[in-house]
Symmetry: C2
Subunit: 287 residues, 2 copies
């Protein structure tokens, strides 16, 4: 079983036209490459649910608010192709920048309110770039189902809202975060960490777990939950906290009081590398 590497937009449309005529369910896993086991779970999930499966690999310049981040972002197309093929992808769509942005981009998708906080506050223009490129990829591939990781919780909420508000004919499927044995969420950026930074990194997940435990025990005050979590992060001298928030899972707005399910989300810096993670939490009715 071999996956087809496709570079051009007309070519990928042509390749999928046959699957569409055969009424196969078409799946898309949009990625920026540097694939790891987290992407692997997306691809495996999609493979089980779809008759024809495309993985896109495109490091999207318009979602990077920092040029150095864009330049440092790992690029491993050969490995990505083999990885996708091994998990059963039919097509790896890896367009050139000139195919995706052939002339100055004038049309953008903006999702308001949901992008005000969390990563949106610290990465101006990021979610506009994400929503716009996902819109483009969905319009090119026209999948029935598209798969996104829960690790990027705000991105997932933004895309779900885009699809809902703009009546896009696609189902968005969320796939759980994959973690290292020590709890660190898999991310293409993890390979940029020095050994010292890598050993400090699991504190991020530990702080989320501590916060989730408090919520499970019935904590109502988000400030109290944040205080305890931030104390855990403060023990890592290499780590700088960008944000730590307790928000409602649909709208991504900070909650004044914890009732029902909340999303606990954080971003930290380790040297020049930014890591994000999140956990859904709610009161444990047995406690």
């Amino acid at each position: 079983m071999s996956a087809q590497l496709i570079r051009g937009i007309p070519e990928v449309r042509g390749a999928l036209a046959r699957a569409r005529r055969e009424a196969k369910i078409i799946g898309l896993v949009p990625t920026m490459g540097a694939l790891h086991a987290g992407h692997g779970r997306l691809i495996e999930t999609a493979r089980r649910e779809c008759g024809s499966l495309a993985v896109s690999v495109f490091v999207n310049p318009i979602q990077f608010n920092r040029a150095d981040d864009y330049e440092r972002y790992p690029r491993t197309l050969d490995a990505d192709l083999r990885f996708s093929e091994a998990l059963g992808a039919d097509i790896v769509f890896a367009p050139e920048i000139s195919a995706m942005y052939p002339c100055p981009q004038r049309a953008y998708v903006d999702v308001e309110v949901l992008t005000d906080g969390l990563c949106g506050k610290f990465r101006p223009g990021h979610f506009r770039g994400v929503a716009t490129v996902v819109m483009k990829l969905l319009n090119i591939v026209q999948p029935d189902r598209a798969y996104f990781g829960e690790k990027d919780a705000q991105q997932l909420a933004v895309i779900r809202r885009m699809v809902h508000d703009l009546d896009m004919p696609v189902a968005i499927v969320a796939v759980p975060t994959v973690r290292e044995p020590d709890g660190l969420a898999l991310s293409s950026r993890n390979r940029l960490l020095s050994p010292e930074e890598r050993s400090a990194a699991p504190a991020l997940y530990q702080s989320l777990q501590a916060a989730a435990r408090l919520v499970a025990q019935g904590a109502r005050n988000p400030e109290e939950v944040k205080r305890e979590a931030l104390a855990i992060l403060a023990r890592q001298p290499r780590m700088r906290v960008e944000y730590f928030e307790v928000v409602d899972p649909g709208g991504m707005q900070p909650v004044a009081e914890i009732r029902g399910a909340v999303l606990i989300a954080a971003a930290v810096w380790l040297g020049p590398t930014r890591l994000i993670d999140n956990l859904l939490a709610c009161k444990n009715e047995q406690s």
Copy 2:
């Protein structure tokens, strides 16, 4: 031959699914209703080119920057249904506002630069509302071809750019403006004119024609062209000019010097009613 009136989004998708399975070319004529012979030409053109034809009728609240304009906008659904049916439409899709905007809209399509001038300057938010609702209608109906009138030249340019930049799988077809015998471009707003305003209205087209004549004769200076056209409009005491511009037809930017084809576009007020019109012009090589 009878057209089917459909109110719901799932229902219109279902009705078109059969046409799609039969590999018919699906056409969409998006309108705000109050259909006139200008829409008639859109529907007739689409009917010739498509195996299955939907006309949408939806007065889109988010593209009105003035509440009074939205409230005064004519609504004639029964007549629109008969009109569409007589011209061979298969489906008239007339959704309720609550179907199109079931919860607060957060996702929008923004087209930059092309919307800075002309109507975009005087109707803040208008083209965001237009692009967003057209995106929604295209995603609901999923036509192969969608038809727009050249009378709304900036709207046409915005939609073409949206479709291009966001890789939407639809062909946008432009249909020439239909005019009254005295030159007034057909518009749903014409029926709001008093008899006195109606008799002043043809000056708009006359001013565009005068400008186009100067361009045909080789005028290079847009200010000179505008001066002559504005003198014609100034003879109508009831008419207030909102803008009169000479722009490039693709990007909608004012030109400093007229070379090649230009779009001459104007908006005027007659009492509480705003009228727009435009003409494409270029130097007559015989002159």
